[in-house]
């Protein structure tokens, strides 16, 4: 029975992209990176939530004292009352808007910049951003319901929008993207209470579900575009060292949030080595998960070996 699944050049239209990997690697093997990613997203959010939850428990006499491992939000936070972290994109807009930030914010932004410059800019999108589970859910439901829509807006829109937010910050003297940013709205809603922020999150979900496949994260979001620019020299990269084993099942293309990054590495288009060097790649590792032939590996940008 599983012989037929592994047969090459099988019709791939409409098949579940994880089915083949589940057959060969088991459910856990076929979802390893996805589970790790969800754990990272939840754990990261959890760090921010421990404080408010412990405060609530302390107020209701279930706890002696509130404990704050992390204070603040994604915009700016303090870990263990000493380590400052600040979103460099937001701080850049603040500086263009005419504000010279205090040292805490500058230090925090430099630390965050170095982290993503070193490891991979869009690691943020796949492993930490709270909107990612929302758009992932929309993408999953879209596949399940077989929703087909017209072409999403051009992929370069996000970079132009990034530029536009910087210009608008400069011209209006305000942090432009914060009027809209569903990431900080959702994160703040979870930590400080909601208001109408759910509406914005729902709008992103519906946009990805009904209007454009992977539209928000892959085509619109300037935060992702900013972190993408940071990822030009990232050490952590996905590669396709066993690309000779590829059976063209297209599963990786179906699950990849940025499918355009796979071809150069997998099919040696415009490059010889099997490294995915495009900074659009979010290093989510989903292609590693769903490949039944074990073509992909998470590795460093110096490892150009093939096997």
């Amino acid at each position: 029975m599983n012989q037929t699944v592994q047969a090459p050049r099988k019709s791939v239209a409409g098949r579940n992209p994880t089915a083949a990997a589940r057959e060969t690697k088991g459910w856990l093997g076929a979802n390893r990176f996805l589970l790790l990613r969800r754990a990272s997203q939840l754990g990261f959010l959890g760090l921010f939530l421990i404080g408010p939850i412990s405060l609530w428990l302390a107020r209701n006499n279930h706890l002696q004292q509130a404990w704050w491992p992390v204070k603040g939000t994604l915009a700016s936070s303090v870990t263990l009352d000493s380590l400052p972290l600040t979103d460099p994109y937001m701080l850049l807009q603040a500086m263009l808007a005419g504000h010279l930030p205090a040292t805490a914010a500058l230090t925090g932004a430099v630390i965050v910049l170095l982290f993503y410059l070193l490891l991979g800019g869009r690691l943020y999108c796949a492993w930490f951003c709270p909107i990612n589970p929302v758009t992932d859910a929309a993408g999953w439901l879209r596949r399940k319901l077989k929703i087909k829509t017209a072409q999403p807006p051009p992929e370069s829109l996000r970079r132009w929008l990034l530029l536009a937010t910087l210009v608008v910050s400069l011209v209006t003297g305000g942090i432009a993207w914060e009027w809209v940013n569903p990431i900080s709205m959702l994160h703040r809603a979870l930590i400080f209470g909601a208001g109408a922020a759910w509406g914005v999150v729902a709008a992103v979900f519906l946009y990805d579900l009904l209007f454009a496949a992977r539209g928000w994260c892959g085509h619109v979001c300037p935060v992702g575009a900013f972190y993408g620019l940071l990822g030009k020299f990232a050490l952590l990269r996905v590669a396709a060292p066993r690309r000779r084993a590829c059976d063209d099942c297209m599963d990786c293309f179906k699950v990849c949030p940025e499918p355009q990054v796979i071809r150069p590495a997998l099919k040696a288009v415009g490059q010889d080595h099997p490294l995915i060097l495009s900074s659009d790649c979010t290093t989510c590792g989903r292609c590693v998960d769903v490949c039944s032939q074990d073509v992909f590996r998470l590795t460093t940008r110096f490892n150009r070996s093939e096997s």
């Binding site: 404080g51 204070k71 700016s76 929008l161 209006t172 809603a189």
Partner: protein, 254 residues
Amino acid sequence: MTDRPNPTNSRRRFLQQSAAAIGGACVLGLGVGLYGNQARALAPTALRPPGALAEADFLAACVRCGLCVRACPYDTLSLATLGEPVPTGTPYFTARDVPCEMCEDIPCVPACPTGALDHKLTDIDDARMGLAVLIDQEQCLNYLGLRCDVCYRVCPVIDKAITLERYHNPRSDRHALLLPTVHSEHCTGCGKCEQACVLPEASAIKVLPHALAQAKAADHYRKGWEEKDKAGGSLIGDQIQLPVRGLDAPGGTP
């Protein structure tokens, strides 16, 4: 006609897609800018934390992280949520609900990572969050001749920011009116007076943003008595003293 990728076609496609992307970004950017202008409207009852920069500068500097909210020991501050008449995510307080307690160490200010709350503010008496205005003189109990005095008593800068000024009560013609009077050079805008006002629902004394509460003297205005003091004497020389008529005792002078 051929299988070869046509360079003219791909260039045309690239130009078309770029144009679409740039156009889209411009429209979205313009939308964000206009919406931002709309969304920066601040309700007059929403007060910024102590040390906040002037509103326009504050909006350029505040990254909406909420660290000032966490630093406040009295739960005075909250972050605006979408739909409130305050720029989304920025910190504010409503004096009638929870005023600023004017902590001596001002913990919210050093907590601000960007300096949207000015770290140079070290004496809370120098804070200027707004200005108290006794706005409803028709309902204020002291204006009616009673000795309520609550706003005066709770003022952390009592006898400087709020004083009781004594006037004749023309209604009874034999009592005094002690009118709570705010002095802008000392009022921090903490809002304790507004919170404490005994009237139901709205307070007779309200903390307003300076831009709403204060008028500005025209640049060319001079106060004669100040100029006289500065110059050490009248600037226009001695005046002719004319006799005042009509104050003679009834019946004429003997």
